[in-house]
């Protein structure tokens, strides 16, 4: 049941990214190019996605997940250095190529070698983070 619901969710996510044009790097970079030929499409995508999610979060107050377990705890309001540093780094990579993790996967079947190179580099970066964090923490405590 969990797998079926995850499959449906992934299919909606992938279909939505495809239809909205978010797998087109030119459209995404066009949104970020506010001083140039600005393309507002991404704002409509974000706005549209917010509507079902607002309803969903509201429903989590009075229900439990369909397949059991619990909903995520209330988010911590702590703005940490890794949050800011990571977001800036992510934004730079996003601006360089125009792909973020969702669209990088959604476009895998038609993105050609460009998509594979980006995805492999992205996965390598993700894989490197736990040891990198560990080393940074050790450095911080030693200093």
């Amino acid at each position: 049941m969990r797998a079926v619901l995850s499959l449906i969710s992934g299919a909606l996510f992938g279909g939505g990214l495809h239809i909205s044009g978010m797998t087109d790097t030119a459209r995404v970079r066009g949104f970020l190019d506010i001083a140039g030929a600005w393309d507002p499409t991404l704002a409509f995508v974000m706005g549209g996605a917010m509507v079902p999610m607002l309803v969903a979060w509201r429903l989590t107050r009075t229900r439990v997940p369909l397949t059991g377990g619990a909903f995520p705890a209330q988010p911590t309001q702590q703005v940490t250095r890794p949050l800011v540093f990571g977001s800036v780094m992510f934004g730079v990579g996003w601006g360089l190529v125009g792909l973020c993790p969702g669209p990088a996967l959604a476009s895998l079947s038609y993105g050609g070698w460009h998509g594979y190179v980006f995805l492999i580099a992205m996965l390598a970066g993700m894989w490197a983070v736990p040891p990198l964090r560990h080393a940074l923490d050790r450095h911080a405590t030693a200093a």
């Binding site: 995850s6 495809h18 377990g69 780094m89 990579g93």
Partner: protein, 139 residues
Amino acid sequence: MEIAWLYGLLGGLLIGTGGAVLLLGTGRVMGASGIVGGLVDGTGINRGSTLAFQLGLIGTPALLGIGGWTVATHATSDIWLLILGGLAVGIGTRFANGCTSGHGVCGLSRFSLRGLIATLFYIGAGVLTVTALRLGFGL
């Protein structure tokens, strides 16, 4: 091209519905970087569900493409830009613990301060990067 925003809105509604199905069905937040990253570094939960999610995420656009609805990705052919961008997105999203879907769509819709701060910083950094590339290198 004038109707791009309409497709954007429609696609956005589908994306949000996908997030709602995952949240209400399984209690998970639909964050692409978290779901993929957990698979890569071994911190992920529920491998089967995660793989099913990826199958839908990759498979649906593939089917739409085969059905004739194709999208050109217009990605750069500069291999170093692709590698640098991929590394930055991979490292950045894991440090920040989220990307456009997790912090953006799912975070903002629950009025998360962390989600808002992350979104402001990655959009800000993205804007500066695109502008710098265009002005400096004509890319």
